[in-house]
Assembly symmetry: C2
Homo-oligomer: 107 residues x 2
DNA sequence: TTACAATATCAAGATATGTTGATTTATGGA
DNA sequence: TCCATAAATCAACATATCTTGATATTGTAA
């Protein structure tokens, strides 16, 4: 029950659904890319990324001071279905801004 | 997004997961059966049943003053997967008390 | 070591959700 | 019509969650 509710409550927020969808569509992203692309302040983003990670949807890989988040694989059946459902929601994704690659990360 | 979040938020409560699991296991139940079996006060149960119904998991059929709730069919793919996930959670279901059938419904 | 950049965490306030007891609505029978 | 029962809704309070700005942590380079 706990694990199930943790997954479900992680999904129960529009911001996190958007983050999941965005990373699903664009692949691995670092926090500052997400900040730039999704126009969210850092503490807010960091909080939601942690929730998604703790719920088993995301993994983090640290490279120096950067933290790269990506969809965790393999996902179990329910999380896979949830992601699939999110994949076909009609929501407009902002374009990816790769601030980390062009050295524009000054947040 | 709205529909998805409505489904997800309906699942995001231990009480509602138990109710879904109970009705899934026992079939159509009236509110007073659920009250007796799950030992919940009427207003609490009624609230959660409404949320599950509005989220598309349950349907109601009224017979006189009784309201019978059952799993809505057909369920879409995501709701079906969610229900399947709930079906295999290790939670102990209380036995069904069919108070409505033996005329013991005096709540 | 010191400074700085990227990320994480904390504290406070705002909003949403769950619980309970009281009230209301709806249905059927006297 | 009037009453009783089942169910739904309301109001008040408690608890949880989200947002923001401030602070702490971690890694890199001078």
């Amino acid at each position: 029950m706990e694990v199930f509710l943790k997954s479900v409550s992680a999904l129960n927020d529009e911001t996190r659904v958007l983050i999941l969808r965005f990373i699903d569509a664009n692949g691995e992203c670092c926090v500052c890319d997400l900040q730039a692309s999704l126009e969210m302040i850092q503490s807010r983003l960091s909080r939601h990324l942690k929730i998604l990670k703790d719920a088993g949807f995301l993994r983090v890989e640290r490279k120096g001071t950067w933290a790269y988040y990506s969809i965790r694989t393999p996902l179990d059946r329910f999380r896979t279905e949830a992601l699939e459902e999110i994949r076909y929601l009609s929501l407009e994704l902002p374009p990816l801004k790769k601030s980390s690659e062009i050295g524009a990360c000054k947040i």
